[in-house]
Amino acid sequence: MKVWKGFLAAMVALPLVAGNAMAQSAEQLKTLVVAVPSDPVSLEPGTNKAEPVGSEIILNVFDTLVAWTAPDFKDLEGRLATGWTVSADGKQFDFKLRDGVKFQDGTPFDAAAVKFSLERTKATNSYVKATFDLIKDISVVSPSEVKITLTAAYPAFLSILAQPQSAIVSPTAVEKYGDKFAANPVGTGPFVFKSAQADTNVVLEANPDYFRGAPKLSKIIYRVIPDASTRRLELESGGVDIVQQQGQLSAIAAEDIEALKGNKDVKVLETSSQIIRQLEFNNNKKDGPFANVKAREAIAHAIDYDGLLQGVFGGTAERVYGPLTSNSWAFNPKMKELAPAYDPELAKKLLVEAGVDPSSINLKLYSFQGPLWGAVATFVQANLADIGINATIEQTEFPALRALQTSGQFDVALDGRQPWYNDPDAHITIGYLSSLADTAMTFRMPGDKDLDDLIVKAQQTSDMEARKKLYFEVQEEIAKRVPGAYLFSPKLIVFTRANVEGLVVNSAPPLNEYWSVYKK
């Protein structure tokens, strides 16, 4: 009976519901709807594996000790820390903590919470094992002072502390919820976690007591929309306020970006990223056409870099001159001169000098799936054909390509890296240190004591100016070895409705903070 009553009432009230929709618009103006491609995997620092959706929510619900300063993200600022000093040997970090901050559940924030959070992440989060294992000791000096001691000097540690995995959690909430903490995350951040519905949405509400002042929005709804064209249509029809490119090559095609730029209801925010996409050689291979550095150089000169940027990306990507992007604080300006120029004649000559007959090469060009990777692969394939090399494109899913790469079963592959912490270490060490050749993300560099020593020294030097010089040297040394052809760096692109204001797009990690965002 109840059903029929409800049904009857529904029929009668339909026109009223339409009126109700108008009343909602005031609420909608205070609510930001963000389109995301999938559910967050983990909403808490103890298990987060740098997956973008969960990481961004963590940065809005929790705070870290330090964060990169908007809008250019070249300097660190204090968040839960007000200041810090690093010892001369680079192993000790002393933090002064902010007074009077409370977690969203009312627990006061103090040094003990910092110690608790970081030790917890160290114990439970395998993703940051490599860096968190450097932590020898965390000691509470006073409620507002904490001292972190590392086993070795690691200046990039401050960047690591700005990561979502290093966010400070409420010890009381962790104790209360136990292993259900990820479903009930509690931090000190500008937004409070409200609810999550599988494959549907995650809802955050404003934290009125936030220590930097209450956010201007009253609510954030992360809507899960897996299909890229649906995300675009939702943005155009006003169903969502923000669609993020997330730096993924396959998110929205260049022609769609052009179309959205022409839509007056939509704003397109672009910013340089630190992502590098490259054609990489299997540098560990002792035989094959590319064992000779001249042959690798030939390939680097065969590629029409500017043509690729204009033809395939229509200006949504930038040139990369070497192992670091030009917006990195450690970028060596000399790399612009050292970078190989497009010169097919020189490429052919180099092949002759290397003693390689291009017609004898039958290359498999591995690449990820997705139309944009396909376009890049086709472009490179055509460039290689110009110097007489026949390449077939093999577009492979991410796990399968990784398996091929870690086992070394390739000559060349299109690949890339998106650094998650704002430090040259994120590109250089993992990419080029020979001892890491068999790990998942690398150019598979052969043993090379000079280069390896230089990389480790640059990683560990704490004087930032000296460190920068070392990275200058590292870049030149790597370029001499031609481990790959650096193709392009896609810009980070965020699409918003025209009335969204105050958003600053961060480059490493490419995650947005919504504290300052509001709708007109």
Binding site: K2, V3, K5, G6, F7, A9, A10, A13, L14, L16, V17, Q24, E27, Q28, T31, V33, S38, V41, K49, A50, E51, S126, Y127, K129, A130, Q197, A198, D199, T200, N201, I221, R223, V224, I225, P226, D227, S229, T230, L233, E234, E236, S237, G239, T396, E397, F398, P399, A400, R402, A403, T406, R417, Q418, W420, I430, L436, D438, T439, A440, M441
Partner: protein, 336 residues
């Protein structure tokens, strides 16, 4: 009849066992390592090895299989590799959305498809017949994603009449009772939620129903034409029965039997088609769950969802067989 159903249900066991073996081995033949996918770019080999050990992936496949079957017998579908949540619970959470969508789609398809087929058949080669034949040809051949995109563009973006995607407005917090959004809305007397659920259901239903309605229309037209040429129809006409009586009671009733097989088979197919439709419309159902799982190499989820799809398929075919018995006395006799 009861013994027939019981026999069919018992026959279900070996079928499901075969499905289980096939799915288990096929899933492991997909190239790529779930541990690599889960850890993403930048993971070290040590991390990958540790995770492989944690997930039993370093064990022999036979061991993994026995372990899995052992769990299944206790109703344990395993834990999702991606989220660490129990797969059975995750499937139960998403099943209502898929069932709601496919049941509505079948209803819409039957409501449109059968009358169109009948009307075309009683006036073959009329203008109506020509139009419906062209339309149904388009319906059969148009890929679902294209139809979805057109509907989203026209009704969502340009006209703004219907939501582009989702199952419920983000601004409505609906009560969760049965998991069926419309029913929950009615049960809790929440009109806004009910209305929002109906609005969100229209476009995905149309996409799923289009193919079935078109297939059904063409099919019913053809069988009706055959049946209307039979001797017993001439007899019925000769007895002086009203035209409607002849068409509905004699013609349609005899054409419906094969149509039910088509509906049954297509319904099961539709559950598979839901993978695409659910992904495009951001519909939180089991098809999309499976799609994500395949992308992530989430073995337990792929296995669990495939088993559920297989089970639904088999159950649908049993229901079709039973309906045959209900509609056709000759079949009923054989069942005994």
């Amino acid at each position: 009849m009861a013994s027939f159903i019981i026999r069919r249900l018992i026959a279900l066991i070996p079928v499901m066992c075969i499905v289980l073996v096939i799915v288990f081995s096929l899933v492991r033949l997909i190239p790529g390592d779930p541990a690599v996918t889960l850890l993403g770019p930048g993971a070290t080999q040590a991390q990958i090895d540790a995770l492989r050990a944690q997930l039993d992936l370093d064990q022999p496949v036979v061991f993994q299989f026995l372990h899995y079957v052992g769990g299944l017998l206790q109703g344990d579908f395993g834990l999702s590799l991606k989220t660490g949540l129990p797969v059975a619970q995750e499937i139960v959470l998403r099943l209502p959305a898929t069932i709601e969508l496919s049941v509505f789609a079948v209803m819409v398809a039957v409501i449109f498809g059968i009358p169109i087929g009948v009307l075309s058949a009683i006036r073959p080669n009329s203008l109506f017949d020509h139009i419906t034949r062209v339309v149904s040809l388009v319906g059969v051949s148009m890929p679902a994603f294209l139809l979805a995109l057109i509907l989203q563009l026209v009704f969502g973006t340009y006209l703004g009449w219907l939501p582009v995607s989702g199952r419920m407005s983000s601004f409505i917090t609906a009560e969760h009772i049965t998991g069926f959004a419309i029913l929950d809305g009615l049960l809790s007397g929440d009109l806004a939620a009910t209305w929002s659920a109906v609005q969100h259901l229209i476009l995905p239903t149309a996409v799923l129903a289009a193919f079935l309605a078109a297939t059904l229309g063409r099919f019913v037209r053809n069988t009706m034409l055959d049946v209307m040429g039979e001797d017993f129809i001439r007899t019925a006409r000769a007895k002086g029965l009203r035209r409607a009586d002849v068409v509905l009671n004699h013609g349609l009733r005899n054409s419906l039997l094969p149509a039910i097989t088509v509906i049954g088979l297509k319904f099961a197919e539709m559950l598979g088609g839901a993978i695409l439709t659910e992904t495009i419309f951001a519909w939180p159902g089991i098809g999309r769950y499976m799609f994500e799982a395949i992308k992530n190499r989430d073995y337990p989820v792929i296995q669990g969802t495939t088993l559920v799809f297989a089970l639904l398929f088999v159950i649908t075919s049993i229901i079709v067989d039973v309906l045959y018995g209900v509609l056709d006395p000759r079949v009923r006799k054989k069942m005994k």
